[in-house]
Amino acid sequence: MWTLLQHLWLLEWRTKYRFYNSLLYALSTSFIASLVVSRYPGVSVWSGLMWFLMLFNSITACSDAFRNEGERRHIFYRQLSRPEDIFFSRFLFHGLFGLLLVSLQFGLLCFFIGAPSAHWSSMFLHILIGAVSLMGVLSLTSAIAAMSGNNVSMMAVLSFPLLIPVLMIGLEGTLQAGLGDSLQQAWKFALGNTAMGGLVATLGYLLFPYLWNA
C-alpha cells in the first residue's frame, strides 16, 4: 500500500499535471469570486462560496483518477496488489491532495475577498475535515464511473447526491464556527464529517474488490 502511494506521488510529481490544473482552477475561481462578491461578504456567503468552489474543484481533480490508466496497466496492478490496498492508496492520495487543494483555495479566497471572520482557524479545521470526506466519496464514485466506461458527466451525476450530505454537515459546521462557536460547541459537525469519512473508507474497503475484479 505504501509502495502504491509512493508510486502515485511519483506519477504526479513527474507531470504535476493535476496539481497545476487544480492550482489554475482555484486561482481563476477565486479571482472570479472577487469580481462578483464584494470584499468581506460575511460568514454565510463566504463559507457558501468556499464549499461551492471546493466541491467543483475536487470533482475536477478526481474525475480522471482511474481513467488515465490503460487496460494493460489495470491488469498489471491487479496481479501485483490487493484491491483494498489500491483503494486505500487512492483514498490517502486524494485525501492528502484534497488537504493541499483546500488550503490553497482557502488562502486564495482570503487573499481575494478577505478573511471570513476572526474565527477563521476553526472554520479552516472544519473545511479540512470536510475535504478529506469529500475526496473519500469521490475516490469510490470515480472508480464506479471509470468502470462503467463513462465520461465526466456520469461522475457528476453519481457524486452529487452522495456529496450533499458531507457538504451540508460541513457547511453548517463552518457557519457555526465562523459565527464564533468554539470547537466544543461545533464539535458534533466535525465529528459528523469524520464519521462520514470513516464510513466511506469502510464501505470502500468492502466494496472496491467487487468493482476492481472484473
Partner: protein, 219 residues
C-alpha cells in the same frame, strides 16, 4: 382458487385503512385538525419505500456474493418501486406541509434528506441505463446501490439530530406518539403501515414476475 394469504391480508388492510382512516375518529388538535388523517398515508409511503430499498440492498449484496441476474432484477425493481413510493410520500407530505406549515416546501432536514435520496436513486437508474453488458451493469450498479443506501440512511438518521426539524420527534418537537397519537389512531396506524408495506411488496412481486416472463419468452 389460488389466493395467497398475504395478498388477501394486504387487500383487507388497505380497505380497512381507507375506510377507518377517513371515517374513524381522530383527536381535535390545533393547526393539525383533520389533516392528521394524512399520518396513515404519508408515513405509510415512507415505511413502504424504506422496506423496498432495504430489499433492494439485500438483493444487491446477494448479487455481489453470488452473481445471478435474477437478484439484480429484483434489486432494480425494488429500487424503482421504492422510488415511486418515495415520490408519493413526498407529494402527500407536501400537501400536508401546505396546510400545517403554510408552504409546500420548507428547508427542513428531513425534506432535504428525502430529496437527496431520491436524487441518489435517480443516479442509480442513470448508471444502469449507461451500460450495455448485463453482468457489468449488475455488478457496478450493485456496488453503487450499497454505497448510496448506507450513506443515505446514516445521513437521514444523523442530520435531523444535528439541526432543527419541523417534524415531530426532532429538534425538540415532541413525537406524535408521546401524547396525541391516541389509542383510536393506533388501531388504524399500525395496520396501515403493514398494509402499505404489503402493497409495495405486492407491486414488486408482480413486476418481477412480468420481467421474468419477458426473459423466458425472449430466450
Amino acid at each position: 382458487m389460488n389466493i395467497s394469504w398475504w395478498k388477501l391480508g394486504t387487500a383487507v388492510l388497505i380497505i380497512y385503512t381507507l375506510v377507518a382512516g377517513l371515517m374513524g375518529t381522530v383527536p381535535r388538535l390545533v393547526v393539525l385538525n383533520e389533516t392528521i388523517r394524512n399520518l396513515y398515508y404519508h408515513v405509510g409511503m415512507w415505511f413502504s419505500m424504506l422496506a423496498l430499498w432495504t430489499g433492494s440492498l439485500v438483493f444487491s449484496i446477494k448479487y455481489l456474493s453470488k452473481p445471478d441476474l435474477i437478484s439484480d432484477l429484483k434489486a432494480h425493481k425494488a429500487a424503482s418501486i421504492g422510488f415511486y413510493m418515495g415520490i408519493l410520500g413526498l407529494l402527500t407530505g407536501m400537501l400536508w406541509a401546505q396546510f400545517t406549515w403554510g408552504r409546500f416546501w420548507t428547508n427542513d432536514p428531513k425534506l432535504n434528506g428525502t430529496a437527496i435520496s431520491l436524487l441518489a436513486y435517480l443516479a442509480y437508474f442513470v448508471l444502469r441505463g449507461s451500460m450495455e453488458d448485463p453482468m457489468t451493469r449488475a455488478r457496478i450498479s450493485a456496488v453503487y446501490n450499497i454505497f448510496a443506501f448506507v450513506l443515505m440512511i446514516v445521513f437521514i438518521q444523523v442530520l435531523p439530530r444535528l439541526t432543527d426539524s419541523l417534524h415531530p420527534g426532532n429538534g425538540g418537537n415532541p413525537a406524535f406518539g408521546e401524547y396525541d397519537l391516541d389509542r383510536q389512531m393506533r388501531l388504524v396506524f399500525y395496520p396501515a403501515m403493514i398494509a402499505w408495506i404489503g402493497m409495495g411488496y405486492w407491486i414488486w412481486d408482480i413486476r418481477c414476475r412480468i420481467e421474468k416472463l419477458k426473459i423466458s419468452t425472449s430466450s
